[in-house]
Every structure is written in structure tokens, then in C-alpha cells.
């Protein structure tokens, strides 16, 4: 059931992901392009990067990205160029701007809260254990216990 929607969308183009004719001659530049394209979304697909996608549009974006890199853009400039055209929807890794900060902080904040609650719970238990052991056996009882054991 996974990703069927996306695959149905791709019916027209049975070509596969990165094609040999797209690959740049400069391996360093190509490596950068591959790295960047795993973070860019294929716009007509479901949750798939342009690096993996078979769609025509993904191919166009891959070629566009490579053109920018060949033209001398930095990684950031090349990505900004694509975001300016297609919107932040294209970024698989959301930025930290505006409300997105909530997304990035949700995990760490929850960890702090859960950690604090867990710690408070455990230390309360540990304290009650100390209290528990303290009043479990009085001096008198210990004497009796010793007596019983000796008998």
C-alpha cells in the first residue's frame, strides 16, 4: 500500500532515478549534486526525493540543480534558487524559521519534560525506600530478629 499513489503518478515515465546522461563529469561536483538532491522533494511524488524519483519533473530539477552547481553556485545558493521557484515544500528537511522551530524543539523539549518527570518519580521512590528501610526495623525489632535467628 506504501507509496502507491506516487507510483501511480509515475506511470508515464518508466525511467529510473538519476540517468547516466545527467551525471556530471566532475566527480566532486556530482557528489555535491547527489548529496543536495537527496534533500529536495520530488513535487509530484509522495515523500520521495528527486534523487530517488522516476518522475520527469524530478529529472528536470536534478538537471537544474546541476546547472546551478556548474555555474558556480554554492550549495546554499543552489538550494535557495530552487526554493525561490518551488517554495519551501521542496525541502525535505524543513528550515528552523518561524513556527518550524516548534517542530525541531518538540523532541528535545519532550525529552526534558519526560526525563524530569521520570527523574522526579524515581527519586521520590528512592526517598520513600530510604524512609521505608529506616522505619522497617527498630532497634527492638532487630534484637528480636537476632534472638529468633539464634534460636
Amino acid at each position: 500500500m506504501k507509496r502507491l499513489v506516487l507510483i501511480v503518478l509515475l506511470l508515464a515515465s518508466p525511467a529510473l532515478a538519476v540517468q547516466p546522461d545527467e551525471i556530471l563529469d566532475d566527480p566532486a561536483l556530482e557528489a555535491r549534486a547527489r548529496d543536495l538532491s537527496t534533500g529536495l522533494r520530488c513535487l509530484v511524488c509522495r515523500n520521495e526525493s528527486i534523487d530517488e524519483s522516476n518522475a520527469e519533473l524530478a529529472r528536470d530539477l536534478r538537471i537544474l540543480l546541476r546547472e546551478r552547481l556548474v555555474a558556480g553556485d554554492t550549495d546554499q545558493e543552489a538550494v535557495d534558487f530552487i526554493v525561490a521557484r518551488y517554495g519551501e515544500y521542496v525541502l525535505l528537511k524543513p528550515t528552523t524559521s518561524g513556527a518550524n522551530i516548534l517542530l525541531w524543539l518538540a523532541g528535545p523539549a519532550m525529552l526534558l519534560i519526560a526525563g524530569a518527570v521520570g527523574f522526579a518519580f524515581v527519586s521520590k521512590r528512592a526517598r520513600s525506600q530510604k524512609a521505608d528501610t529506616a522505619d522497617r526495623l527498630t532497634k527492638e525489632e532487630q534484637d528480636r530478629l537476632r534472638q529468633i535467628l539464634e534460636d
Binding site: 509522495r46 525541502l91 518538540a106 524515581v122
Partner: protein
């Protein structure tokens, strides 16, 4: 002629009986969800005892109904709408059967069938349960059944007829015509629905107002079973994606995948916290809450997959009926259970006391990490929808986010696990536990450093994964060894209870999977090229030659199949046959990767299009440790099964029966 007519008549008759049985099961479920509850409240034995035959007959009726649907698929009864939409008379038998649940209506019928299977199992094997608890558990299980029977009958009836049956069907989506995926949904549903038992036990305990060690012992086998099934289901889905989608990805953080992963994380947390309830009578209210939320995530998962909300808000708005119905089920069950929890949780007094450093607190750490990591996955999955509705921003949350936000929790879990597993109950000393693991630690570090030096200059991910995997695995061995009293006696090793073995095996499985995921990600080799027939090319230590490309006809598809010879050190090791298929009825192409499975690596070859110069696009991947990912999952599932086989679960049930503690005081 008369015979053919008669056959057709019987076929239609069976389908109609299946529909009728489904309606009857719905009615039985309604009675089952009411009568035993009243019986338990009034202490009327007869009314309570009604739950058992009701649960069993509900199961039999649903099973008959499901069998009738399978029958309709296998005999290609094209008067049924879903058979027309998802089957074809030429389809192989296995996929005719699996086509039954390869669609919305049939899969919901499978869902509710599993609800009734679990209910019937609780009725049959729950002999040791106090009668009121048993009656309440079965009543709540019945209520879950009611909700889903109503959902099926009113919004998604699999027995819908077509007035004019067509001559043949439209075929099942070819990507689903695959043995891995044929069994993926049943296992996943066994897991999702297995959690409904934990939920029913939790709500029944809240109504009873009593949670004790025995409750922990009763709820744990169901949770374990659910977790084992979820593990297998997720592994099957991931394995299918690996070989079927054509580039060897195994996990995509797709909303649909996350929907199955979140209950898995929570079930893992739940089966650990239930140990604390069982052994130490602590963490009771947390465990109850976790049981409710875990089933809540099963419902959320069903909602996500069935409503189409996360695919597109518009798809949901166009056909909101089903989505709203499931949402309603979710609100009633989870909202109701949480309200009950809020009212009753205070009554659950914890008994066991324990120190800051103890097995109990280690298991609390386990629960914190698993629950928060589940929260991260949930937040990331829902965020695009929230951002669109609340902030009018259309954005994506994809694998780079999840890899960055989720992985640290698993690393922390991996580091803490062996130490926590060695700590004694009540009170331990960190130094002593760590000291007993010194050799495991040194060995794991040594292995990681060795590999790091050997790989020169690649990412540190591989060595880190190796360290974690080795640390967890050796830690599990040390744990087993110390359980035999450090004697190393083989006889004692094999006399250890199933739970000890299960723990060691499942933890090892987690380590193996962690190592494999890191290793595959870090050390994969990829080659994309236009290969000319007869001209060898090198990928890693392999020499590949495209020998021939042929046209082949399958039962319901045409295929372009390549023969690619693979040599290593001048020796022919195998010939691979990657394919491109077209399914004319479904009008869909697929790629069939050819994979040479080996212990340490897979060689994964995909054939693409023919180029104008006569060459073919060939993609070759060397995927180290690929099989280890699923081997780790199998180990985890096996560990769960071993734990489930522990005789103490059965002894506990028997002991309860013989002591006849009967009606609990309230």
C-alpha cells in the same frame, strides 16, 4: 448448462451468506459489549459467562464471512464490486487470495476478523482470569468489534454487488502481486489489533479499580504477541520496498510507514513497563496509560492509511465519510478510556519501592526514550498538516528530519541498554554493572576502531553502528552468562527460563539491525551507466557483463529481461536477471531488481531503458549487510516468541485458577 447455473447459484449463495454472517456478527458484538458489563457490575454469573460463547460465535461468524469473501476472490465472482476492482481471472492463485485484503473493504474485514480472533482466544485461554475481569475484557473487545463492524457495514461494505457484472476484473495493482507484500498486511494487523487486547485489559482494570502483579502477567503475553507480529509485518514491508521499488531503499519515513512504526515503539515500551508491574507492582498507572495510547496509535495508523488525510487534505475533503467515522471511533474509545483513566488512576497505589540505580529506573529510562522517540515521529508526521492548517505554510518533513531528530534516541537507547539490562531489581550499583560489561565494551570499541582505520576517510556512521551493535550483542551474552551464575555451564544455560533467552535474543536482534542500518547507509556503493552488450564493466570487486536482453511473457505481464554475468576475481559467480515488466490489464510498468543475496553483502542490479546507441542503462549497487537488517528483525521477533513461551506465563494462569481468588474485592 443446468450445472453451470447451479454452480453460479451456489457461488452467489455463499457470498450472500457471508454478508449475512457479517451482520449477525455485528449483532452478537453489540450484545457482547453490553451484557457481560452489566453482569460484572451486578455480579450476575450467568450474564458474565455470556461473554465466552458470544466471543467465540462472533469469531466463527466473522471467519465465515471472511472465508466467503476469499471464496469470491478465488472463484473470481465478478458480481462483487471489490473483486472486479482488485482481481482478474488470470491472476496467480496466491494473489487472488491476498487480493482479498489488498483493498480497503477487504482489509477492514481482515482487521475486524483479527479483533474477533483475539477476543475468542481470550475467551478460550483466559481460564485463569477472575470472572469479572474476563467479562469486562471481552465486553470491551466486543465494543471495539461493534465500532468496526458498523464502519464496514455502513461505509465500506465488501459485499457490495454490481447490477451488471463485467466479464473480467481490473487486476490487482501489480506492485502488490508479490509474496512479501501478500503477507505484510495480515501481520501488521495482527500487531495493531493485538494491542486492542492490551487496551481492553487496561480499561477493564480501570473499571475494576484494581491493577496488580497478576494483571501485569496477563497483559504482557498479548502485548508481546502484538509486538512480535508488528515486527514481522514492518520487516516484510521494508523488505518488499527493498527489492521491489528498484533502488534498494528500505525505510522512507513515509506517513504510512510511520503509522506502523509508532505502535511498534509504544508496544516495545509497554512490554517493558508491564514487566515492572508484574515483578515489582510499580509503574501501574503509567502502564495503563501506555496501553491506552498504544492502541490509540493503532487507530491513528488505521486512520492515516484509510482516510488519505496525510496524502492530501483535499483527497480527505472529497470523501470524508470513512475518515470521519474512524476519527469518531478514535475519539470515543481513546477519549473515553482517558477520561476513565483520569477518574481512576489515583486509586492505583504503587507498592514496590526501588533505588535511583535499579532495573526499575533503567526500564523507566527505556520508556522515556521509546515514548519520546515515538512522539518525535508523531510530531514530524503530523507537522505538514498542522503547518498548512494553522500557519498556512505548505512544507515537507522528510527523511533528513527524521534521521536527525529520531536517530539520537536510538543511539542513547543502544548505549544504555546493556547496562540497564544488567542492573538488579530494587537497588543496584552502576559501577558494578558497568564493570561486569568491561570485556564487552572493550571488544566493541576495538572492533569499531579497527573498522574505522580500515575504511579510511569514510563517514564515522559505520563504525558507530558497529560499536552499538557489538556492544548490545556482547552485552546480551554477558547477561546470559551471568544468569548462569558465571559458571559458563551449558546445561544451566539451556535451563534458563524462556524470558531470559527471549531478552538476550531480542536485544541482539536490535543490535544487529542497528549495525546493519548504519553499515548499509555508510558503505553502500552505487554505479549508474550505459552498458553495451558484451562489454564488461567493474563495480567494486565485481566485473559485470550485459550478455543479452530478451522479451519474456509471464502469466499476466510482459517482461524485458536482461542476462548479466557477474565475475569476481576472474570467476563467474552468478548470472542476474533484472526485469522491466508491463502489466497490460492494470496498465502499469514495474521494475524487478535482480539481487544476488550473500551473507555480507547484496549485489543489486536494475535494468533501465535502452539508449539510442544500443546500450542499456544499468544500475548496480553493492549493499553491505542488507540481509542483516531483516535478520535482526527476525531475531527480535524470535526473542519475543521465546519470551512468550516462558512457562511462567502459563504457570501464573494455572496458579490463579487453583487458588480461585474468585471475585476481587472492590
Amino acid at each position: 448448462m443446468a450445472q453451470a447455473f447451479c454452480g453460479l447459484y451456489i457461488q452467489r449463495m455463499i457470498t450472500e451468506l457471508g454478508h449475512f454472517a457479517l451482520i449477525l456478527a455485528f449483532l452478537v458484538a453489540i450484545v457482547q459489549s453490553v451484557v457481560p458489563l452489566i453482569g460484572a457490575a451486578k455480579r450476575w454469573t450467568g450474564w458474565m459467562a455470556f461473554a465466552e460463547p458470544a466471543a467465540i460465535s462472533q469469531f466463527l461468524l466473522t471467519a465465515f464471512s471472511f472465508a466467503a469473501l476469499v471464496w469470491a476472490f478465488t472463484t473470481s465472482d465478478f458480481s462483487l464490486r471489490i473483486v472486479v476492482e482488485n482481481s482478474h481471472s488470470l491472476k496467480p492463485m496466491l494473489y487472488k487470495v491476498s487480493g482479498t485484503w489488498g483493498n480497503h473493504e477487504g482489509s477492514m474485514l481482515l482487521w475486524v476478523l483479527i479483533v474477533t480472533i483475539f477476543g475468542a482466544m481470550a475467551a478460550v485461554f483466559g481460564g485463569g482470569l477472575p470472572p469479572t475481569l474476563k467479562a469486562r475484557v471481552l465486553a470491551i473487545q466486543g465494543a471495539i468489534g461493534v465500532a468496526f463492524f458498523a464502519f464496514i457495514l455502513f461505509t465500506s461494505n465488501p459485499f457490495d454487488r454490481l447490477a451488471v457484472p463485467p466479464f473480467d476484473g481490473r487486476d490487482l495493482n501489480p506492485l502488490l502481486q508479490d509474496p512479501g507484500l501478500a503477507f505484510h498486511p495480515p501481520f501488521l494487523y495482527l500487531g495493531y489489533v493485538g494491542l486492542s487486547m492490551a487496551f481492553s485489559f487496561a480499561v477493564a482494570a480501570l473499571i475494576e479499580g484494581r491493577v496488580d502483579a497478576a494483571w501485569g502477567r496477563w497483559v504482557r503475553p498479548w502485548t508481546l504477541a502484538a509486538w512480535v507480529f508488528l515486527t514481522i509485518g514492518i520487516a516484510l514491508g521494508s523488505w518488499w520496498a527493498y527489492y521491489e521499488l528498484g533502488w534498494g531503499g528500505f525505510w522512507f519515513w513515509d506517513p504510512v510507514e510511520n503509522a506502523s512504526f509508532m505502535p511498534w515503539l509504544l508496544a516495545a515500551a509497554l512490554l517493558h513497563s508491564a514487566i515492572v508491574v508484574e515483578k515489582r507492582e510499580a509503574l501501574k498507572s503509567w502502564t495503563i496509560l501506555l496501553a491506552i495510547i498504544a492502541f490509540g496509535f493503532s487507530l491513528i495508523g488505521t486512520f492515516i492509511v484509510r482516510s488519505g488525510l496525510l496524502t492530501s487534505v483535499h483527497a480527505f475533503a472529497n470523501d470524508p465519510e470513512r475518515g470521519v467515522f474512524i476519527l469518531l471511533i478514535m475519539v470515543v474509545f481513546i477519549g473515553g478510556a482517558l477520561t476513565l483513566f483520569a477518574a481512576r488512576a489515583q486509586a492505583m497505589e504503587a507498592k514496590g519501592v526501588f533505588g535511583m540505580v535499579s532495573r526499575e529506573s533503567a526500564l523507566i529510562l527505556n520508556n522515556v526514550l521509546l515514548a519520546v522517540s515515538c512522539f518525535v515521529v508523531f510530531f514530524g508526521t503530523m507537522w505538514p498538516m498542522v503547518a498548512e492548517m494553522a500557519f498556512d505554510r505548505k512544507l515537507s518533513v522528510g527523511p533528513p528530519f527524521f534521521n536527525a531528530a529520531f536517530t539520537p534516541f536510538m543511539v542513547a537507547l543502544g548505549i544504555a541498554l546493556p547496562v540497564g539490562a544488567m542492573l538488579p531489581w530494587k537497588r543496584g550499583r552502576l559501577g558494578r554493572a558497568a564493570w561486569s560489561l568491561r570485556y564487552a565494551f572493550i571488544l566493541a570499541v576495538a572492533l569499531a576502531v579497527l573498522v574505522w582505520v580500515m575504511q579510511t576517510g569514510r563517514s564515522a556512521l559505520g563504525p558507530i553502528g558497529l560499536f552499538l551493535g557489538a556492544w548490545i550483542t556482547f552485552g546480551a551474552l554477558v547477561d546470559l552468562w551471568s544468569r548462569t551464575g558465571r559458571s559458563g555451564s551449558i546445561a544451566r544455560l539451556f535451563r534458563l527460563p524462556g524470558a531470559d533467552w527471549g531478552k538476550a535474543v531480542a536485544h541482539t536482534g536490535l543490535g544487529v539491525t542497528m549495525f546493519a542500518v548504519a553499515g548499509l547507509t555508510a558503505w553502500e556503493v552505487e554505479d549508474i551507466r550505459v552498458a553495451q552488450p558484451g562489454q564488461p564493466f567493474e563495480v567494486g570487486q565485481f566485473t559485470l557483463t550485459l550478455q543479452d536482453v530478451r522479451r519474456v511473457q509471464g502469466p499476466n505481464y510482459y517482461s524485458t529481461m536482461a542476462d548479466i554475468g557477474v565475475r569476481k576475481n576472474g570467476q563467474e559467480i552468478t548470472t542476474l536477471h533484472p526485469e522491466k515488466r508491463e502489466y497490460p490489464v492494470a496498465q502499469m510498468p514495474t521494475t524487478e531488481a535482480a539481487i544476488d543475496y550473500r551473507f555480507l553483502r547484496d549485489l543489486y542490479v536494475v535494468i533501465g531503458d535502452q539508449q539510442s546507441d544500443g546500450g542499456w542503462v544499468v544500475r548496480t549497487y553493492i549493499k553491505p549487510l542488507a540481509n542483516w537488517i531483516w535478520a535482526g528483525c527476525i531475531l527480535m521477533a524470535l526473542g519475543g516468541a521465546l519470551s512468550l513461551s516462558d512457562r511462567r506465563f502459563r504457570v501464573a494462569a494455572g496458579a490463579q485458577k487453583s487458588s480461585k481468588s474468585g471475585v476481587p474485592a472492590e
